[in-house]
Symmetry: C2
Subunit: 396 residues, 2 copies
DNA sequence: GTGAAAGCGCTAACAA
DNA sequence: TTGTTAGCGCTTTCAC
């Protein structure tokens, strides 16, 4: 076993009790909160050091040191085009010695670029935080932005007030563009964004636009994936196939429902029950289905979480999966799909890739040079739809 | 059922195939990736509009319109202290009419403040993304920062190269402070941060400092929580209590192990097996324990994910939980703890509150006014440790 | 190829 | 109370 630093006292360190000066009220989002007290360990420490750091060197300082003008230093720092080698070298050394780092604020002031992108996650519900979707998407975005030296400014919104704040921020010209997620029907965000006049790419097909607008978005092929799943169930010989929908104020849920209908046509309407992308919703819906259609022999759930709830209810009712009832989910969220009993057959979407693609699209749109490029196809992508794949495990 | 916008075509829209100009290589982090092709739906659209927006109005413009000086406008915009009411009103109206929004870059240039905080998540592994920990923490931070009008700049690091980039960014004076997570032993980040000389609060006790340094951090009472869990198992009459550790290069894992030892003393060393905070690690460790100590009657797992893996193996081996073997996890990650079979007894930590607290601490440290405040206690918190609570469900 | 000079939009002394 | 003025640190014409 590793050799590790440990509290040598052998006990939890000395504590002092401190009332929590909460800024916000409700923190408890998922259960009785722990006692509102904080254990503080103090020791001889000053405040988190507002260290009076020596003022950072400026272009001026570097220029002086290298014996050139500020303009020359600027040129070298920004790529060094049109500066003779020996000078470049001198400047480089000066930069090095002084530990010079350009002041971004000053730079932005003149260039009007920020090399920063806002990521807006409009999710008032707990759901985003209960699954890795969000994190994976972010990771993809982060990778792509980083590769292009852009920063990621995260804007999480929860209530109506937050919308105004986000609108102001976006309009404030802090960032070069925005990536927006989890839009719900009648979300005010799109309007705000349009008004802010800032280049934007959406994650998921926005519900308020059926191609009639010039919105750019990235989505999974929800409908196609759903079709594939349902076809698979039908191919298994199942005839009483049910669907537990997602939250129908999101297009992903609507599209999956459409895919289901593409295959099943006008099946028994009792076989389609509304869920909300959560395990609890899945349980509720599954019970309803078993109530009304005891002969159900397959279930296509709008996502894996929903499917996990459905599985639990099926087990409760003594139905064997997949023998009695076959079940398919959507997402292929590993921590869920692999841990269910039995492991879940599901439709995979490449979430991280979606994020990466959104960033790439936005960055491409931002690139001035591209605006005048290749005159052949004036058509830029409005919607990019990533393919899905059926992942077979044990549940269907 | 809701009335919803749908693709009226009844089918997935027309697609065009486009090769994916991937910037990064390996995207596949969790399985065979879907075919590297993208379905693009095009329509008559220009590039993501690099809209030549009319130049935003400046202070100057507002001043002209209101018939006052720039200074006065500035005063009004920044709180309006010391400006007579009628003028305030005139300026307000001008701001309104022109839709004026201050240019942040210009402001930062002179104030040297950015009202932005960097959140650094140093997690090369998949783990952070497989559980809601990260998202919850982020949410807490976001709330607190928002309440104080600060922006959240997210810095995700994955490889060694990323460290340099982050160091540069932090040193570049883009942000007023940093919040840092998921440090591992021998992580180069703390060094970089120290060199950047930027106020920082850590999430989780940093491994390289046993209170000998002036580091500020927020942590859960991992050790105390572990003790409570193990005591509970002992109270249940269990005598052969095993522990599956977390990744021991993180202090949270070490502290939980210490807590276990506080109660169990020098138990059979075979009962302590190293895990890695993942379900797979939990499975592996559980098998090993059953192999070497078939008489095991209780397991304290380093987190819920680990516990879920252990549960699966126990079931596989026909051990009943909790009758034959009682199991306790750590974290109380609802999507996991409530979905296991049986539902998991576990140690809850308030993750969102941790995030909120980190932000609060950092902001407090940044606040100039506080540096000269109350001379009574010069001691600022070095470590803030949040309490944990045992949540009883069915597994123990 | 290099330097001088003019701002980018704002805040903060200082005067009035 | 209000206005005037001098920069913050950088990029970018425009001369040389």
């Amino acid at each position: 076993m590793l050799n590790l630093p440990r509290n040598t006292t052998g006990r939890t360190p000395i504590f002092a009790l401190l009332p929590c000066p909460c800024v916000h009220g409700e923190s408890a989002l998922m259960a009785p909160p722990p006692p509102r007290a904080i254990l503080i360990r103090t020791h001889r420490t000053r405040s988190p050091e507002v260290t009076d750091t020596a003022p950072r060197p400026t272009l001026e300082a570097v220029a002086a040191r290298a014996g050139v003008s500020r303009a020359t230093v600027s040129r070298v720092v920004n790529g060094g085009d049109g500066v003779r080698e020996p000078l470049v070298e001198r400047v480089r050394r000066a930069v090095e010695e002084l530990g010079y780092v350009p002041n971004q604020a000053a730079r932005s002031l003149v260039t009007r670029r920020h090399d920063a992108i806002a990521v807006v996650v409009a999710e008032p519900e707990t759901r985003v935080f209960a699954d890795p979707f969000f994190a994976l998407q972010l990771r993809g975005i982060s990778k792509e932005l980083t590769a292009h030296d852009n920063q990621l400014v995260l804007l999480l919104t929860e209530g109506r007030d937050d919308h105004a704040r986000v609108g102001r921020y976006l309009a404030g010209g802090h960032v070069d563009g925005a990536l927006v997620f989890s839009l719900h029907l009648e979300d005010p965000l799109p309007g705000l964004i349009q008004r802010a006049g800032i280049p934007t790419v959406f994650g998921g097909r926005p519900g308020w636009s059926d191609g009639s607008q010039d919105v750019v978005y990235v989505d999974s092929d929800n409908r196609g994936g759903a079709r594939e799943a349902v076809r698979h169930l039908v191919g298994l010989g199942r005839t009483r196939v049910a669907h537990i929908t997602g939250a129908l104020d999101q297009t992903s849920a609507v599209d999956r429902l459409d895919g289901f209908r593409d295959v099943m046509g006008d099946a028994d309407p009792k076989l389609v029950v509304q869920g909300d992308f959560t395990p609890a919703g899945g349980e509720r819906a599954m019970r309803e289905i078993l109530d009304h259609c005891p002969d159900v022999d397959a279930v296509f759930a709008a996502n894996d979480l929903t499917a996990s709830g459905a599985l639990r209810v099926l087990r409760e009712h003594g139905r064997r999966v997949p023998e009695d009832v076959a079940v398919i989910g959507f997402d292929d969220m590993l921590p869920v799909a692999e841990q269910t009993d039995p492991p879940l057959t599901t439709v995979r979407q490449d979430i991280e890739e979606m994020g990466r693609l959104m960033a790439r699209l936005l960055l491409r749109g931002l690139d001035r040079s591209s605006s005048s490029s290749g005159g052949d196809a004036g058509a830029a992508p409005a919607g990019v739809v990533l393919p899905t794949t059926l992942v077979r495990r044990a549940s269907a």
